[in-house]
């Protein structure tokens, strides 16, 4: 096997992490979507590399699936959505960006420390990147926490899925095919339901601010 | 096996009690009069009063219940039984095992409860007030009396009065400090129980501070007579308890006629001294306000308890 492939994979992983950070700090919703598309694209690329190296046909399928879902379909849906709901304002995170960045870095360190012992055990060629995958997951989690609008939260959720996919690949060259299919199906349905939701929220409050959804609580 | 002499002494004792109870009351009044430099009434005065009352018709309130009419007999019965239990002349009494000190206190309490109920029956202000006060004196006097008896039963390891007496008589003369406390307590209690100064004034009517007289305000005729007689028997009983607990010498042991004969004058002597002392104390003390009575009785109660404690402290 070529010694080049792992380096490419690591490079792509680094790009992925970079993009995640960019999403974490991004205010404008449209460019957020673009970044998400890029995120997906990086994922597909790395999947293809790994597949090519390991001659793993299943991985090609799942790469194709990812391309279809995460790079083409979902961004397109989101585009349509925000055009229909014409939400183009900036997204003000709850915590200011430098702070978020700081926390993000801490998370990355934690993730690396967690992943280090495990990645030794992995048989995958992309084993070094398990830490990055975990970091991506945690960062998307952080993003969901810090965003106060519906759409960015959804995007955070989806990028989390990306992270998961990447980690699956990094750890074990991807899950069994049937599972991959199931996951893909779930994500698809999830996206549709999310769309329905956004419309329902929209028609209730005529904007997508999560602050409208803070009435169910313990009254004092 | 109880001998016939046992029955005889029992009978004799009851008769003596019934007969001489008014005499004791009379004697106390006489002493009082003497000490107050008054000309004394005849010592037989109580008998005459009783006779007079018995002859009178008794007047009942319109809505007096049967209970009201039964109570005098019940009280009288209780006191008679009490006197027959307490060894006054002899300790050879067939009845004494029927009731020990605790039962005796219970008996006195029974009488008290009934007379208070009778007082509440008519529903006059004085009646219920008297009942309340009587019960309230009683609930502190009873335990005190019980404690007094306990402190002597702790010495004698027995709660039956005859047992106590026999035991006390037979052991060599010794000073029992706890009996001193008990004695003082007992004196105070018996003053309260027999409605004497300083707790109550037997020679008064219609004071707001009266207790016993308020109870029996509605009684008249034979009922009143029975109650008065019972009252004097109560005094007699208490004096005999005091004698039995503290000066038991001279009470006839077993069934020997001579001792029995001898015991009568001894008893008379003791009662005479006791009555005189009673009158003397009454002389020198003033009637206290009704609100002070609890303190007085509480003191008695505590003294009795301390008596028991002392018994343990000095390690019997």
């Amino acid at each position: 096997m070529t010694p080049l492939a792992p380096q490419i994979v690591n490079l792509l992983a680094a790009i992925l992490l970079l993009v995640t950070f960019a999403m974490l700090s991004q205010r404008r919703i449209l460019s957020l979507i673009h970044l998400f598309t890029l995120h997906g694209a990086t994922l597909v690329a790395s999947a293809l590399v790994v597949a090519w190296v390991t001659h793993d046909s299943e991985l090609y399928y799942s790469a194709a699936l990812t391309l279809a879902l995460k790079v083409i379909l979902i961004p397109w849906i989101l585009h349509k959505l925000i055009l229909r709901l014409n939400v183009k304002w900036d997204v003000e995170p709850l915590i200011n960006v430098p702070m978020t960045m700081l926390i993000g870095i801490v998370l990355v360190i934690i993730a690396f420390n967690l992943a280090l012992p495990i990645s030794q055990l992995s048989s995958s060629i992309a084993r070094g990147t398990l830490g990055i995958a975990l970091a991506c997951i945690l960062l998307s989690f952080l993003m969901m926490i810090t965003r106060s609008k519906a759409v960015p939260q959804v995007i955070g959720f989806l990028s989390m899925e990306n992270g998961l996919f990447f980690s699956a690949m990094a750890a074990t060259n991807g899950m069994p095919m049937i599972v991959e299919l199931g996951i893909a199906l779930d994500i698809l349905v999830g996206i549709l339901i999310l769309g329905v939701f956004l419309f329902q929220i929209r028609e209730q409050f005529d904007n997508l601010d999560i602050h409208n959804l803070e009435h169910l609580k313990e009254e004092d | 096996m109880i001998s016939y002499s046992g029955y005889f002494s029992q009978l004799l004792e009851i008769v003596v009690a019934l007969a001489s109870a008014p005499l004791l009351t009379g004697w106390v009044n006489v002493c009082r009069a003497w000490l107050q430099n008054k000309s004394a009434p005849s010592i037989l005065m109580p008998y005459r009063t009783l006779h007079k009352l018995f002859n009178k018709d008794s007047i009942l309130a319109n809505d007096a219940s049967p209970l009201f009419r039964m109570v005098p007999y019940i009280v009288f019965g209780c006191m008679t039984l009490a006197c027959s239990i307490i060894p006054t002349l002899s300790t050879d009494l067939p009845l004494s095992p029927a009731a020990d000190t605790i039962a005796l206190v219970g008996l006195l309490a029974l009488a008290r409860v009934f007379i208070s109920l009778a007082a509440m029956d008519i529903g006059t202000a004085f009646g219920s007030m008297g009942a309340r006060r009587e019960m309230f004196v009683g609930f502190m006097a009873e335990p005190a009396l019980l404690m007094v008896m306990f402190s002597s039963s702790l010495i004698t390891q027995s709660t039956s009065l005859t047992g106590i007496v026999e035991n006390l008589v037979h052991r060599e003369l010794a000073i029992y400090p706890n009996l001193a406390f008990a004695g003082v307590a007992f004196t105070m209690v018996s003053f309260a129980e027999n409605a004497r100064i300083p707790v109550d004034n037997p020679a008064t009517h219609l004071e707001l501070t009266m207790i016993h007289e308020a109870l029996i305000l509605e009684y008249s005729g034979r009922h009143l007579a029975l109650i008065e007689w019972a009252a004097s028997m109560k005094l007699f009983a208490y004096s005999c308890i005091g004698i039995a607990l503290f000066f038991p010498w001279g009470i006839a042991q077993a069934s020997n006629p001579l001792a029995l004969i001898l015991s009568i004058p001894i008893l008379t002597l003791k009662l005479g001294i006791g009555g005189a002392l009673l009158a003397l104390i009454e002389m020198f003390s003033a009637k206290m306000r009704i609100f002070r009575v609890p303190e007085f009785l509480a003191t008695a109660f505590l003294l009795a308890v301390i008596g028991m404690l002392v018994h343990f402290l000095l390690g019997a």
Binding site: I118, L121, M144, A171, T172, V179, F197, L216, E218 | -
Partner: protein, 484 residues
């Protein structure tokens, strides 16, 4: 013909059909019929399992053992009763104009699909499929929670979706780690995620990975179980949805999530021998019980209160399974059973009571025994049962759990006592106010379906007084699966 297929595909097909004709008047009956078929198939399946022991199906894709077949039957039974209950309930809702034909269609088809996902999750042998099914269960119910399209129902559904989605994502990562661990033993492939295969080699799985995996899985499925502090979505979702959905959510979905955690606990225990999973479960259990009881003590909405009590009982079960050992595990399974029976029964009565009073605020619900005595007594006895009053079954499981806890870890018992006392005071104090007292409300137009309520309570009563040997055998085998 394999009953397993019937159990799986009846709800699936039924869901699709109802998706087309769900608004018709016959739809409720069709719903009942589907559930009935499923239930009878489940019973047949159970009989086979108990007699012939565990079996595989579709190669190794499905694996049925006493543990999950008992949950399958329970699920099928509660599903059946719920569908029966929802007939008059939904009719009333429609008369009140809260359910439009479209919503009815959604409700009916989603109900069946939800059952399907749960059966899938229970019976599959592949832990990946298990994950897929759990996610599917969330997706199936999330639109039902928001079916009334009110502000609060929308909010509840949104929180349900996001929080459970995130949780389930973490669970996926846990699954991936598990796969990684398995990969090193079994060299990848579909078989590497089969529970049976993993169970065979569990003692060789790498401890470091397994412990990490278990944490992610616990946090993930724990969110669906509603363990404190991952529970925040639960009271909202259970309180805002239509009552039949609250019943199945509280009665069944929690069980399924707990089942998943149990499966993984078995594997993790096999891999690392420090009893870490048990400790975590005990901790989560106690925390859940404590927080749930105290927060239910200040509820004003009846459905919220009872959903908090669901959290409390999930906490108790988690605690029991955390203690481990045959007795506690037995008690845990028993508690799962009686809790889903009694809690769904309570939600049935609550549903009628709320329709009757036109509100969910407890202060405004009064004098149920006067309006409809059966509902009133049903609610009273249901609440007493859920509070652990004999002779209902909850008492027997709590009896076993408390006495065992007293000898296994005495320090935990004061917490439990405190929590149970608070729960008793709050629930009984409010319920007796709702059941008795004066009211002016009128009886409902459609007579409520009380067969489900009393069937459930009757079963709970039976389990309190006498556990049939057949059922007992079944429990014991399940315990054997878990404790091993």
């Amino acid at each position: 013909m394999d009953p397993l297929l019937w159990v799986l595909f009846t709800p699936l097909v039924g869901g699709i059909i109802l998706g087309l004709v769900g608004q018709r008047d016959t739809a409720p009956n069709l719903n009942v019929v589907c559930s009935l078929i499923t239930f009878s198939a489940a019973v047949i399946l159970t009989v086979r399992i108990i007699n012939n022991g565990p079996l595989f199906s579709f190669g190794k894709l499905f694996f049925i053992d006493p543990l999950n077949v008992f949950l399958v039957t329970l699920t099928a039974f509660v599903g059946l009763t719920t569908s029966i209950f929802s007939r008059p309930y939904m009719r009333v809702e429609r008369d009140h104009g809260k359910m439009t034909p479209n919503r009815l269609r959604l409700y009916h088809s989603m109900f069946q699909l939800f059952m399907f996902t749960m059966f899938l999750a229970l019976m599959t042998n592949n832990l990946g499929i298990l994950w897929v099914a759990m996610e599917g269960a969330t997706l199936a119910t999330v639109l039902l929670v928001s079916v009334y399209r009110t502000v609060s129902s929308l909010e509840a559904a949104w929180k349900y979706f996001i929080l459970c989605g995130v949780g389930i994502a973490l669970a996926l990562f846990g699954t991936i780690l598990l796969y990684l661990a398995a990969d090193r033993q079994l060299g990848g492939g579909t078989d590497a995620l089969l529970w049976t295969t993993l169970n065979a080699v569990k003692s060789h799985l790498d401890p470091a990975i397994m412990s990490l995996a278990f944490v992610f899985l616990l946090v993930g499925y724990g969110t669906k179980m509603g363990l404190v502090p991952l529970h925040s979505w639960l009271p909202d979702a259970h309180a805002e949805g239509p009552t039949p959905i609250s019943a199945v959510l509280s009665g069944l979905l929690l069980n399924v999530a707990l089942y998943a955690v149990l499966r993984f606990k078995v594997l993790t225990d096999g891999a690392l021998h420090n009893g870490m999973p048990g400790k975590l479960l005990i901790g989560f259990g106690l925390l859940s019980v404590l927080v749930a009881t105290f927060s239910l003590s200040r509820q004003k909405d009846v459905k919220r209160m009872f959903s908090y009590s669901s959290i409390e009982h999930i906490g108790i079960m988690t605690f029991a399974f955390g203690i481990g050992g045959p007795v506690a595990t037995y008690a845990g399974l028993l508690h799962m059973t009686v809790h889903s029976l009694v809690k769904s029964a309570i939600f049935f009565t609550v549903g009628h009571a709320c329709q009757n009073a036109g509100t969910q605020v407890m202060a405004d619900i009064r004098g149920l025994v006067k309006v409809s005595p059966t509902v009133g007594w049903g609610m009273l006895f249901g609440s007493l049962a859920i509070l652990g009053m004999p002779p209902f079954g909850v008492f027997s499981s709590e009896f076993l759990i408390l006495t065992t806890a007293m000898r296994e870890l005495p320090w935990a018992t004061p917490i439990l006592i405190l929590a149970l006392g608070v729960a008793f005071a709050s629930i009984f104090g409010r319920v007796q106010g709702m059941v008795f007292g004066e009211t002016t409300a009128k009886p409902l137009a459609h007579s409520p379906a009380l067969l489900p309520v009393f069937a459930h309570l009757g079963l709970a009563l039976l389990l309190g007084l006498y556990i049939p040997t057949y059922l007992n055998l079944w429990f014991l085998q399940a315990v054997h699966m878990i404790v091993r």
